[in-house]
């Protein structure tokens, strides 16, 4: 009976680089090249989070759930995937989608309010950002199972938060994935809060990673602000899934540095001191320190990364500042492949209203 123990997570979250930027004794840290790529993406992600938050203040975005502080998770989730793999993000994972290569202006269409989703999920292999919590995990299982049936080597990485693990769909998704050995990596960003609700009110489990064993799914936990550890643990999970060994559950311990969204007031439910303690574990400064100590990250490189991030921010700003003329007929065009007679009637009524309005 070792089988169940194999499925339990390690006693402490996997960590390769400590908060001061020093490699943990005995750790096999990914190569500098890989970490530089990750670092560049981290800088973009952080800049994007700040930019998007600014755009909310400027009224160009309706709302933005920032992943500030969680950028290591965001970046790692994207970097461990190959081009044929699929990513299933939530509303909080804008930075992950951008790290996967999708245009932030398209990603932010949802939060700008022009349409429900802006990018092409099939072309980008990124599902629309999911709002109904945990529902997307089942879609991920379906996409993965389809790939298996077609004999493709696709792996699906599905994201959710700590709060979402309480939903029934989380349970059903892990169970279906395990029973069908679907190549899915379930990646939970445990940022300690679901809006205002702290983890202790969410679960009494020793950890979220402990939820795996109940499905026969190995659970692992990792320092969510250590991109080296994330790349290693998630990378291994992706490899394992690709090799046909089934799904895995990975829990990252991280922290939501800002309020749930700009509409939220975090002072109502948590202390500033708690937030401050996490500043020291920031994923960017940690990796920067590590790479600088190794001499891999030079000032020159750092500047070029910042410039690239600025370019992304500028592109995002420009895109979001452009008003897109809403097309009323869009309301009816995509409900079905062909519009029903009822929708045709309703569209005609609206067109007539608009025409009469214009004639005034």
């Amino acid at each position: 009976m070792t089988r169940d123990l194999d499925l339990l997570p390690s006693e402490e979250p996997v960590r390769l680089v400590d908060p001061s930027g020093t490699a943990v004794t005995g750790a096999t840290v990914p190569a500098d090249d890989a970490l530089l790529t990750a670092y560049a993406a981290l800088v973009v992600a952080r800049r994007l989070n700040d930019q998007a938050s600014a755009l909310v203040r400027q009224g160009r975005l309706a709302v933005y759930p920032s992943s500030h502080g969680q950028e290591a998770c965001q970046v790692a989730a994207a970097l461990v995937l190959g081009p044929e793999d699929w990513l299933f993000p939530t509303y909080r994972d804008t930075a992950a989608i951008v790290a996967r290569g999708v245009d932030p202006v398209e990603v932010l269409v949802l939060l700008k309010g022009d349409w429900h989703s802006g990018y092409d999920p099939v072309a980008t292999r990124v599902a629309p950002q999911a709002t109904p919590l945990a529902t997307q995990l089942l879609h991920a299982v379906g996409v993965a199972h389809a790939a298996r049936l077609k004999g493709e080597q696709t792996v699906v990485l599905a994201l959710c938060g700590d709060g979402a693990t309480s939903e029934g769909d989380f349970h059903e998704a892990l169970n279906f994935a395990a029973v069908f050995r679907a190549p899915v990596v379930f990646f939970v960003q445990n940022n300690e809060y679901a809006i205002s609700v702290p983890l202790a009110r969410q679960t009494a489990a020793p950890s979220i990673a402990h939820k795996g064993v109940g499905y026969g799914v190995p659970g692992e936990r990792v320092d969510g602000n250590d991109v080296a550890a994330l790349l290693t643990v998630l990378g291994a999970a992706v490899d394992r899934a690709r090799a046909g060994e089934g799904p895995q559950l990975v829990e990252a311990h991280t922290y939501r540095m800002q309020a749930h969204t700009n509409a939220d007031d975090a002072s109502r439910y948590r202390e500033d001191a708690e937030v401050a303690a996490w500043v020291e574990r920031d994923p960017l400064t940690r990796l920067e320190a590590y790479l600088r100590a190794r001499g891999a990250l030079t000032d020159e490189l750092a500047t070029s990364y910042s410039e690239a991030a600025e370019a992304v921010a500028a592109h995002t700003r420009d895109g979001l500042n452009r008003d897109v003329e809403p097309r009323p007929d869009d309301l009816f065009a995509h409900v079905y492949a062909e519009r029903t007679p009822q929708l045709a009637e309703q569209a005609a009524m609206l067109a007539d209203e608009i025409e009469r309005e214009a004639a005034l």
């Binding site: 109904p132 379906g142 059903e172």
Partner: protein, 328 residues
């Protein structure tokens, strides 16, 4: 033309088999649909014939079934899932309403959701609670779904084939009490498609509008009425969404009187919709308000009482009698 004697259950089984054979992307799954062949045997023999990859049992979780179907559809498959009974589809409600119905629209048509949710539905089989719900109104009210309800074996076959081939999600409601009625059918003969109602009995005095399990009751009522000298037309709605306004309204205009018959509780139901839209469209042809004969606004009754709840021939004829004949 090759007529054969088939039950609706057999016709549905044939539709699944033919679709599986024709299109390798079709998958059939759900609870007990594999070796058992489904509790109603609609999937009988499919796992044996097509293998466990094409027709398979899942863990017992309806949201899981529908949610996984969404993902399969996103990645090129055409899932056909079975909800074991009407009320056991409710755990999947969020997946149906927030994803199945909306994913195409959400993605501006980039992601289609060609899946079919088969729901053995409605009552009249002496089933205990949760096994007899008429849940069509929940689906019909949800934009983005097609909602079909066949009332005979030929339609069951033809509509299910079309539903599986459709690029849009279909909630396919199978009237349980009609599963076992044998009919002469020619499956090779096309039936009217999705979005088409059918006048299944001509008549001149009033129009009965029904679908699914209520169609045979309406036809029986028309038989009895004919003996009493009243000529009732019967329209089988077949496709609740999209709704065939043209056929239904033409029928009602031809008689000037209408009764809608449906098993579901009447309040805020498909029957309400039919009554409202027929009235909107045919007001000046109507000699009397459109009457509704529906289930009461109560939870589905236990077996010993269901006969009092279900639309009956007598209750339909009472409603017809109420259509203000003296005034015309």
């Amino acid at each position: 033309m090759t007529f054969e004697k088939l039950t609706m259950a057999q016709a549905l089984n044939r539709a699944l088999r033919d679709s599986l054979a024709e299109d390798p992307s079709v998958l059939v799954f759900g609870e007990d649909v594999g070796p058992l062949g489904g509790v109603f045997r609609i999937t009988d023999g499919l796992t044996a014939e097509f293998g466990d990859d094409r027709c398979f049992d899942t863990p017992l979780a309806e949201s899981g079934i529908v949610g996984m179907a969404v993902g399969l559809a996103m990645n090129g498959m055409r899932p056909v899932v079975e909800m074991q009974f009407d009320a056991f589809a409710y755990p999947a409600f969020e997946q149906v309403v927030s994803h199945v119905a909306k994913l195409r629209n959400r993605t501006r048509g980039r992601v289609a959701v060609p899946l079919v949710i088969r729901v053995p539905y409605a009552g009249g089989i002496g089933g205990v609670e949760h096994h007899c719900d008429s849940s069509e109104s929940y689906y019909a009210h949800t934009p983005g779904l097609h909602v079909l309800a066949p009332a005979n074996a030929a339609d069951a076959y033809g509509l299910l084939r079309e539903a599986i081939a459709s690029p849009d999600p279909v909630v396919f409601l199978e009237p349980k009490k009609l599963y076992w009625a044998k009919e002469e059918v020619d499956l090779s003969r096309p039936v009217p498609g999705i979005g088409r109602a059918a006048v299944v009995r001509e008549g001149t005095d009033a129009t009965l509008i029904a679908y699914g399990p209520s169609v045979p009751v309406a036809l029986d009522a028309a038989d009895v009425a004919a003996q009493e000298g009243r000529s009732l037309q019967v329209v089988d709605v077949r496709s609740i969404v999209p709704f065939d306004d043209a056929t239904v309204c033409e029928a009602v205009r031809s008689t000037g009187r209408a009764v809608v018959v449906a098993e579901a509780a009447g309040f805020a139901s498909v029957a309400s919709e039919i009554a409202a839209r027929v009235t909107e469209r045919c007001f000046h042809h109507l000699h009397a308000p459109v009457r509704r004969v529906t289930g009461f606004d109560i939870p589905y009754p236990p077996p010993k009482l269901e006969h009092l709840h279900l639309p009956s021939v007598d209750r339909i004829l009472d409603a017809v009698d109420d259509l203000q004949w003296e005034e015309s």
